[in-house]
C-alpha cells in the first residue's frame, strides 16, 4: 500500500517537473512582458510575479507592430495551403488506391521519392523557379501569397494518408453508387469523400500547424513588411526593439495566442494518441 502511494508520488513529481520545464520558457516570457519600466528585468534574484505590473508593453508593441496584418497573412497562407493540400491529396490518393492504370507503379514511386527530398536541400532552385513564375510579393500581394503557398500545396505525406483512407473503404460502396448511375466524379465527391472526412481533418490540422509555424521559406521570399507572416514578423521584433526585452516578450506572447487557442480547441486530435498515422518525417 505504502509502496503504491510512493510510486504515485514519484510519477506525479516527475510529470509535474517535466510539465514545468515545458512551459517555463513561456512563463518567464510572460513575466517579463508584464514588468513596467521601473522594475529591473535583470534583477538578481529574478522575480516571476511582476512588482511593477503593467499592460503597457502589450499596448506599446501593438501600436508599433502590425499584428493584425501578420495574423491575416498567416491565415491566408495557412488556409490556402490547407485547402490545396486537402483537394490535391484526396484527388491524387483516389486513383492510387482504387484504379488500375498504366504507369501506376512509376507514379507511386515518384511520389514516394519526394518524401526523401528535404525542402532545405532544394530551396535554392525552388526560389529561382518561384522568381521565374513571378510568384513574389514585388509583383503584387496575390502573387506573393501564391509564392508562399504553392511549393507546399501538396505533399507525399498527404497523398499517402489519403490513399490509405480510400483503401479502407469497402468496394461495395462504389458498386452501389455505380448501380445508382453515378459517374466517377460523383462517386469521388458524393460517396468517397464523405467517408474519408476523419483523415481529411487530420491532414488539415497537421498541415495547418506546419504552415502556420513555417519560417524558412517566407523569410527567403518575402520582401515587404506588409506581407510578413507571424513567425517572420516575430523574428523581426528582435531587430525593431533591439534590447527592449519587455516589448519583444510581449510581441512574442501576442503572436502565440491564436495557435494556442487553436490547439486547445483541437487538442483531441493531438493528444488522443489515435493519430499515429499522422507522423510527419
Amino acid at each position: 500500500m505504502i509502496k503504491k502511494i510512493l510510486g504515485k508520488i514519484t510519477i506525479h513529481s516527475i510529470l509535474i517537473f517535466v510539465s514545468l520545464l515545458s512551459i517555463f520558457p513561456f512563463i518567464w516570457l510572460i513575466s517579463t512582458s508584464l514588468k513596467g519600466n521601473s522594475e529591473n528585468i535583470f534583477a538578481y534574484p529574478p522575480t516571476i510575479i511582476p512588482t511593477d505590473f503593467t499592460w503597457a508593453n502589450y499596448t506599446g508593441v501593438w501600436e508599433k507592430v502590425n499584428f493584425i496584418g501578420y495574423f491575416i497573412n498567416s491565415m491566408i497562407v495557412a488556409g490556402g495551403t490547407v485547402l490545396l493540400n486537402i483537394i490535391l491529396s484526396a484527388m491524387a490518393g483516389y486513383p492510387l488506391a482504387r484504379m488500375e492504370f498504366r504507369g501506376k507503379k512509376i507514379t507511386f514511386f515518384a511520389i514516394l521519392a519526394t518524401i526523401m527530398i528535404p525542402f532545405q536541400a532544394i530551396m535554392l532552385p525552388v526560389y529561382l523557379i518561384t522568381l521565374k513564375l513571378h510568384l513574389v510579393d514585388s509583383v503584387n500581394n496575390f502573387a506573393g501569397f501564391l509564392g508562399l503557398i504553392m511549393p507546399f500545396a501538396v505533399s507525399a505525406f498527404g497523398i499517402f494518408l489519403m490513399r490509405q483512407a480510400f483503401l479502407g473503404i469497402p468496394r461495395e460502396m462504389e458498386e452501389a453508387a455505380i448501380v445508382d448511375g453515378c459517374n466517377v466524379f460523383q462517386i469521388f465527391t458524393k460517396v468517397l469523400i464523405p467517408m474519408v472526412k476523419p483523415s481529411l481533418a487530420v491532414l488539415a490540422i497537421f498541415t495547418f500547424i506546419g504552415s502556420w509555424g513555417e519560417f524558412l521559406w517566407p523569410s527567403i521570399v518575402l520582401t515587404k513588411d506588409a506581407m510578413y507572416t507571424l513567425p517572420v514578423g516575430v523574428n523581426n521584433l528582435q531587430g525593431m526593439f533591439s534590447s527592449n526585452w519587455r516589448f519583444i516578450a510581449a510581441g512574442s506572447i501576442l503572436s502565440t495566442i491564436p495557435i494556442i487557442i487553436f490547439f486547445l480547441c483541437m487538442q483531441r486530435y493531438f493528444i488522443s494518441g489515435e493519430n499515429e498515422g499522422a507522423v510527419k518525417g
Binding site: 506525479h12 510539465s19 526523401m116 535554392l124 532552385p125
Partner: protein, 290 residues
C-alpha cells in the same frame, strides 16, 4: 470489379498534384545537381561550367568539416535523448492517473508553438544577465556564455530542439504503447519485477519498431535544423553553431555563391536520402506498400 472509370480518369485525378510535385520537387531536385556543377563565384549573372570544382572547394574548406562535425554532434546528442526521454514519459502517462490530459497538453505545448517564439524565449533564458545564469551563479559556478561562448553555443541550440521535440515523440510512443498487451505486464508483476525490469523486458522489445522509427525521424529532422540557429546565433560564434542547412542558406542567399551552396545541398540530399531509405524500407513499409 469492373472498370467504372474512363481511360483518362486516373490521370485527370493525379494531374494537379503531379504538376505541383514536378515544378516544386523534381525540377528543383535536378536543378540542384546541375547548379552544383556551375561556378557563380565571380558573377551571379555569368555562370561557367565548373565540373566538380565546387565539390573540390567544399572538401578543402575547413568550414565544411566544422559544419559536418556540428551536424554530427547534433545527431549524437539530440537523437538518443529524443528516442529515450519521450518513451520514459509515455510509459509514465500510459495509465489512468489524475491530470492525465493536463500533463499531455502541457508537455505537447512546445510542439505547437512556432519555433521562432521558442527560440526567442530561450534566447531570453540564455541572456548574459538572464535567469539561467542566475541559477548557475547561485550554485557558485562561473557565468556561462550560453550563446556567446563557442564551446556552449551549439549545445544551447540543441537544447531548444530537444525541448521542442519531446512532446511530439511522446505522443508517437503513447500510440504505440496502446498495442502492448496488458497480460504481459501482469505476468511480469507476478514474477515480482520492478519498474525498469518490467519495461526493459516487455515494453521495449514490443515497441522496438517505434523506437527505431523515432530514431530515424528525429535524425532526419536534426539534419534540417535552421530556425533555431537563425534566430539565436546566426551560426556563430566562430561557426561553432553552424549546421548544414544554415550554411546552405548563408552561401546561397547571403553570399550568392549558388554553385557552392548547391554542392553543399547535394551532400545534404545524400545524407537525408540514406536516412529516409532506412526509414521507408524497414519501419514504415506498411504505409508505402503498393
Amino acid at each position: 470489379m469492373f472498370r467504372y472509370y474512363g481511360k483518362y480518369a486516373p490521370y485527370l485525378f493525379l494531374m494537379p498534384a503531379a504538376i505541383v510535385l514536378v515544378i516544386f520537387f523534381f525540377i528543383p531536385f535536378f536543378q540542384t545537381i546541375a547548379l552544383s556543377l556551375m561556378d557563380y563565384s565571380s558573377s551571379i549573372y555569368n555562370a561557367q561550367f565548373a565540373g566538380l570544382d565546387n565539390y573540390v572547394k567544399l572538401f578543402h574548406s575547413p568550414v565544411f568539416y566544422k559544419v559536418l562535425l556540428n551536424t554530427f554532434i547534433y545527431l549524437i546528442v539530440a537523437v538518443p535523448i529524443l528516442a529515450i526521454v519521450p518513451l520514459f514519459l509515455a510509459i509514465l502517462l500510459n495509465r489512468q492517473i489524475r491530470g492525465l490530459t493536463l500533463y499531455k497538453i502541457l508537455i505537447y505545448l512546445p510542439v505547437i508553438v512556432s519555433i521562432v517564439v521558442a527560440a526567442i524565449a530561450f534566447k531570453w533564458l540564455y541572456a548574459d544577465e538572464g535567469i539561467l545564469n542566475f541559477i548557475v551563479t547561485s550554485l557558485g559556478l562561473e557565468k556561462i556564455g550560453w550563446l556567446t561562448d563557442p564551446n556552449w553555443a551549439l549545445y544551447s541550440v540543441i537544447i531548444v530542439t530537444i525541448w521542442k521535440g519531446i512532446g511530439y515523440y511522446m505522443m508517437i510512443y503513447l500510440a504505440a504503447l496502446m498495442s502492448v498487451p496488458k497480460e504481459l505486464y501482469e505476468a511480469c508483476e507476478i514474477d515480482g519485477a520492478g519498474f525498469f525490469t518490467k519495461h526493459l523486458t516487455v515494453t521495449v522489445p514490443h515497441i522496438m519498431p517505434t523506437i527505431a522509427l523515432v530514431t530515424t525521424i528525429s535524425a532526419i529532422s536534426a539534419m534540417k535544423v535552421f530556425a533555431e540557429i537563425y534566430v539565436m546565433t546566426k551560426g556563430g560564434p566562430l561557426n561553432s553553431s553552424k549546421t548544414i542547412v544554415y550554411y546552405i542558406y548563408e552561401r546561397a542567399f547571403e553570399n550568392l555563391d549558388l554553385g557552392f551552396a548547391s554542392a553543399m545541398a547535394v551532400v545534404l540530399l545524400i545524407i537525408v536520402l540514406l536516412l529516409s531509405l532506412v526509414n521507408i524500407l524497414f519501419f514504415e513499409k506498411n504505409r508505402y506498400q503498393i
